[in-house]
Amino acid sequence: MSSMTPFLVFFLGAILVALTKGRLQSMVLLAIPVVGALNLYYLPADMTGGTMMFSYTLSWLRIDKLSILFGYLFHLAAFIGIIFSLNLRDTTQHVSGVLYAGSALGAVFAGDLITLFVFWELLAVTSVFLILARRTEKSQQAAMRYLIIQITSGLILLAGVLLRVHETGSIAFGHIGLSGLSSWLIFIAFGIKCAFPFLHNWLTDAYPEATPSGTVFLSSFTTKVAVFSLARCFAGEEILIYIGAVMAMFPIYFAVIENDLRRVLAYSLINQIGFMVVGIGIGTALAVNGAVAHAFNDVVFKGLLMMSMGAVLYRTGTMKGSELGGLYKSMPKTATFCIVGAASISAFPLFSGFVSKSMVMVAALDEGYPIVWLALLFASAGVFHHAGIKIPFFAFFAHDSGIRVKEAPRNMLIAMGLAAVICIFNGSYPWVLYSMLPFPVDYAPYTMAHVLTQSQLLFFSALAFCMLKLYNLYPPELRGINIDVEWAYRWLLPRATKGFVTLFAPIDQACRALAVRRIEVLIARLYRHHGPHGVLAKSWPTGSTALWVAIVLGGLLLVYYF
């Protein structure tokens, strides 16, 4: 079998998915990531792919440890997501999910910044259908906001790349570092997709509005491509350490008081990316390994949590903590899988978060950032609080909401089970994951001290939750929304522009009316001359035409003669 660039398997597969139906479509869907992974496995290490465009060589296949790791990760995420969505009979979602996964693969194997830009925009365009497919008015609006922000990120990237080409003449997708305007533009473009503070709101706005399986796909790819790109271009930039620490801290406050449980997970997604960004900012081998390993684990456990909530949404039709509760009675398997995901994101010993998050934290102490370390420790306790306890507690336990539904469909249970097995496997036996990391690993997660301190941190966080709940100090789940940065463009901007519109609308109308009148006069004049009764539309006898030709020729002769 001859090898091909990884994204092509998905793009060609998407065509087959669009052309098939029913059982055959399901088989094609399942085959895509399997064939893709085999293709990746047999990819010759020295294989390259590219094309010349103007005087630049565009390369869409660059193979190194980092791209291979993300390559396998995205195949795995696509496989799990596809199993989870198999019960759907919605070709739009299937096709866009496959194209979206393919775009993410294209981005991580991109060898230059132009190719990265192409897949960067494709990520936005292909994924928006996963939000639109919810087919509610709210989701349509959220999808448009999402698309505008994502495309903007791509345009900023393009501007940065073009400036960089102008400055350095290079389109290399390698270490860039922060110096000069072009690098800052690229940094901000990455920052938007990475959900940096103040640029994060598209994520918490759009992801909870997507379809149950759409959110599973969304949470796997876009932000991880951004983390990958940061690791490629900006590893070791100190500013990332502080950005990451803020990202790990602030979303947990929003998550504690958020009622939509998938929005809680969206905030906790930002919190987890914070740990990765800190790791990339520190930039040592241990820290970058930690960031990348955590990205891998996060895709699986966040996917698992999103799947469990997606299954609840699919069965109950609601995602509000204030309306759910007691579902362990009717969805016990989903509840169990959700708890595995919760234990993994909280970094309990033997679960996947434990072996990767701590690498970043140890690196922070080693490199002399104790305050950042304290912030990350706070965020670790906080993530257990909102994602580890709150999600399973308010969905499956708490008070009995009286909702009685069927257990999740079988394909969803299989997808969740697979993710749960990977969470426990990576947590208990991290060496396979460690061997795939970009740098050699010299780190032992299972020391007595680490197990003990992490257990203390988590058990006492649970104790705090318990006490606050018993003494009625815990904020109850209430119907309502919390405003965030999006307030500026969803509330303030429309109102600010309203004043502008009332002021300028009459002037604008007058100008338009004047222009229309002018055009009408012009049309009338043209009509008079060129219309059916106009002087120029008259039919002319052949004789007079011959006469006119003779006169013109005579004139020409005279001019020529003199």
């Binding site: 301190t453 992490q454 941190l457 058990f459 006492f460």
Partner: protein, 83 residues
Amino acid sequence: MDKPEKTHVFDKPRNVKRVIHALYAICALSVIAEFFVHRHVDHPWETVFGFYAIYGFAACVVLVLIAKELRKLIMRKEDYYDE
């Protein structure tokens, strides 16, 4: 946490209490274990006895209390953006 069976374990308050008591016990055990485990220390703060336990507990209480205040500031009706 327990895997619920058809009897719906948490319908009985006694079972809820059991879970809470188990949590108390495991917290106590984890602190007692600190006497017996030699802790590798990367930073002087970590030498404080029960540092992780105290920090974890305090962090969560502070988190929730601040979040409650934050809610007064940022919570709106569900149709806030639709008006």
